[in-house]
C-alpha cells in the first residue's frame, strides 16, 4: 500500500522532470544581429549519425554564431540507436541518419505526414588500415583472409548493412573478428592498430588523420549510403530546427561536408 503510493509519487516526479527538460518555451529573441528572417532562440536538439560528428559540430558552431540566442545540442551515435531513442519519445528537433532505411524507421512511425527527409550527402565505404599497413591490405579480397584481424560494423547498423552489400557485390565472404556497434568503434580499433583493416566510411578515414590510411575499392559503388535529414513532426523548436537543416543544405554546409569527404550535390 505504502510502497505503491511511493511508486506513484516517484513516477510523477520523473515524468514532470522529463517534461520540463523536453519542452522549454520558445521565447522570441530580441538579440540584435540575428539574420534576416524572424530571430530564432532556444535549443535545437540534433540526433545525428556518428559519421557526422565532425561536420555537424562545426556547422553547429556556425549556426550558433549566425543566430545568437540559440544553442545546438548534439547526440552522436549509431543511427539505429538514435532512431530507437526517437521512437521511444526522446524530444528531438532534427534527425540525420546514415541510411535512408534507418530514417524510414522514424518517418514511417510518425503520426503526421509533415516529416519529409531530404538526402543532403552521400558517403561510401573505404578500407581503413593502420598507418604503415602492417597487414599489407590492398583490396576488398584481403578482408576475407582469415589470418588478418578485421573489424566490421554489425549488420544491424547502416555501415554494417553497407559492408554486407559490398561483399555480396564482390562475391566475397568476409572474415571479421569483431562486429562493432558503430563506425567510430571500427575506426578506433584501426587507429589503435588492434586490427589490420576495417571497413568504414571515406569520411572516417579522413577524420582518422595520420593514424589511418584509406584504400579505395571499386565495389564500394554497390553501397553508396545516403544521409537523410529531417525536422521531426513534434520538434520542440521547429523554426530553429528548419533553419539548422537549411544551413546543412546551404553552400556553406555543402562545403563543410565536402571537405570532410562526403559527396554532395
Amino acid at each position: 500500500m505504502r510502497i505503491r503510493t511511493a511508486a506513484l509519487a516517484l513516477v510523477g516526479l520523473l515524468s514532470t522532470g522529463a517534461c520540463a527538460a523536453g519542452t522549454g518555451p520558445v521565447v522570441p529573441s530580441s538579440a540584435p544581429g540575428a539574420s534576416t528572417s524572424a530571430p530564432l532562440a532556444g535549443t535545437v536538439t540534433v540526433f545525428a549519425a556518428a559519421s557526422l560528428t565532425g561536420t555537424f559540430t562545426e556547422l553547429g558552431h556556425a549556426f550558433e554564431a549566425a543566430h545568437p540566442g540559440t544553442t545546438v545540442r548534439f547526440s552522436f551515435a549509431g543511427s539505429s540507436s538514435l532512431a530507437q531513442q526517437i521512437l521511444a519519445g526522446a524530444p528531438v528537433d532534427v534527425f540525420a541518419a546514415a541510411s535512408t532505411a534507418t530514417m524510414s524507421l522514424v518517418t514511417d512511425a510518425a503520426s503526421t505526414g509533415r516529416a519529409t527527409p531530404a538526402v543532403f550527402a552521400r558517403n561510401r565505404l573505404e578500407i581503413a588500415v593502420p598507418a604503415g599497413n602492417p597487414g599489407h591490405v590492398t583490396g576488398l579480397a584481403d578482408l576475407a583472409r582469415p589470418e588478418l584481424r578485421i573489424a566490421l560494423c554489425a549488420p544491424q547498423v547502416p555501415c554494417g548493412a553497407a559492408a554486407d552489400a559490398v561483399f555480396a557485390a564482390a562475391g566475397l565472404t568476409p572474415a571479421p573478428d569483431t562486429l562493432e556497434q558503430d563506425v567510430k568503434a571500427v575506426l578506433t580499433k584501426v587507429e589503435l592498430g588492434e586490427v589490420d583493416a576495417g571497413l568504414v566510411y571515406r569520411t572516417d578515414v579522413i577524420a582518422g588523420g595520420d593514424a589511418v590510411q584509406g584504400i579505395e575499392f571499386p565495389q564500394s559503388a554497390a553501397a553508396v549510403t545516403e544521409d537523410p535529414i529531417v525536422v521531426l513532426p513534434d520538434a520542440p523548436h521547429p523554426e530553429a530546427a528548419q533553419a539548422f537543416v537549411d544551413l546543412v543544405r546551404s553552400p556553406h554546409g555543402r562545403a563543410v561536408l565536402s571537405a570532410a569527404g562526403f559527396e554532395v550535390g
Partner: protein, 274 residues
C-alpha cells in the same frame, strides 16, 4: 556480513525504524525495483520460447555463463590473497593499495576496456611483447572477455573478503601458530574457513558483476558471435533493430542473475545475515 556471532538484537520500545525514514526508503526501493518491473510488464511473453530457441541466443547465454564462471575463478585465485595482504599484511602504503584496488569499481567500464586494450592489446604496453614473443593476442578472444569481466569484478571480491578478514578473530590464527601449524596451514585450515561466508558473498557478487559486464567487454574483447558476444552485448545489438528481442534477452539475463544470487544467498549466506 561482518556481524557473524554477535548477540541477537533485543527490541526496546521506542527503537526501530524512525517513520521519517520510511518514505525515502520506499522511494529508494521503488526506484530500484520499478525499472525491472517495467521490463516484465513490456515483455512479449508469447515470443519468449521462440527467442530462447534461437541458436545465437543460446550461444551468447552459454558464453556469458562460461566466461563469468572463469572470471570468478580468477577473482578467487588472485583476489583472496590480495585481500589477505590488505587485511593482515605488514604493508607500507596499504591505504593507497586499497584505493588502487577499488579503482575499477568507480571507473566507467568503457574506460576500463580502453585501459585493458592499451595494456594487453596487440600494440599495448605488455601486449606487444605477448604478441612478438609468444604469438599471443588477447583482443577479440574469449580470453579477453574473461579478463575484462575479472577486471571489473575483482574489487567486489577483495572488498568482501577483506571485510571478513578484518572482522574475523585473529586469536584462532595465533592459537594455531602456537600449536606449531605453519603459516600456510593456518591460512588454509583456520583463516579461510573462518571467512568462507565472506568469500562466497564476494564470489557471488563478482559472478553477478561479470555476467552483466558490457562496456569493458565490447571495448577490449569486441563483439563476435560465439567468441565474444555475451548476453549484454546481444541485448544492446538487438535493441538496434528488434526491441522486443532485446526485452526478451534482458528478461533471460535478469532471471539468470536472480536465480544465481538467490541460490547462493539461500545456500551459503544465511549464516551471516544476522
Amino acid at each position: 556480513m561482518t556481524r557473524a556471532g554477535s548477540a541477537p538484537v533485543r527490541r526496546v520500545p521506542g527503537t526501530g525504524v524512525p517513520p521519517l525514514l520510511l518514505l525515502p526508503a520506499a522511494l529508494g526501493l521503488a526506484f530500484l525495483v520499478l525499472p525491472v518491473v517495467a521490463v516484465l510488464v513490456r515483455t512479449p511473453w508469447s515470443a519468449l520460447p521462440h527467442q530462447l530457441a534461437r541458436p545465437e541466443v543460446l550461444e551468447s547465454l552459454r558464453l556469458s555463463l562460461v566466461s563469468a564462471v572463469l572470471a570468478t575463478v580468477i577473482c578467487l585465485l588472485l583476489g583472496v590473497p590480495l585481500a589477505w595482504v590488505l587485511a593482515r599484511g605488514e604493508l607500507r602504503g596499504r591505504s593507497l593499495v586499497r584505493a588502487l584496488v577499488t579503482v575499477p569499481l568507480v571507473l566507467p567500464p568503457v574506460v576500463g576496456g580502453v585501459a585493458l586494450l592499451l595494456l594487453l592489446g596487440r600494440r599495448g604496453v605488455v601486449g606487444q611483447y605477448l604478441d612478438a614473443w609468444f604469438g599471443i593476442s588477447l583482443p577479440f578472444s574469449t580470453a579477453a572477455v574473461v579478463i575484462a569481466e575479472a577486471f571489473v569484478a575483482m574489487p567486489f571480491l577483495v572488498i568482501s573478503v577483506e571485510g571478513a578478514l578484518r572482522a574475523a578473530d585473529r586469536r584462532y590464527d595465533d592459537a594455531a601458530a602456537t600449536l606449531g601449524a605453519s603459516r600456510w596451514l593456518t591460512f588454509r585450515r583456520v583463516t579461510l574457513p573462518l571467512v568462507a561466508p565472506g568469500v562466497t558473498a564476494g564470489a557471488a557478487l563478482s559472478f553477478a558483476r561479470a555476467l552483466g559486464e558490457f562496456g569493458a567487454t565490447i571495448t577490449f574483447a569486441g563483439n563476435f558471435p560465439g567468441v565474444t558476444r555475451t548476453m549484454p552485448l546481444s541485448v544492446y545489438l538487438a535493441l538496434e533493430t528488434d526491441p522486443d528481442a532485446a526485452i526478451v534477452l534482458s528478461v533471460v539475463l535478469l532471471a539468470v542473475s536472480v536465480v544465481v544470487l538467490a541460490a547462493l544467498r539461500g545456500r551459503w549466506l544465511s549464516g551471516v545475515r544476522r
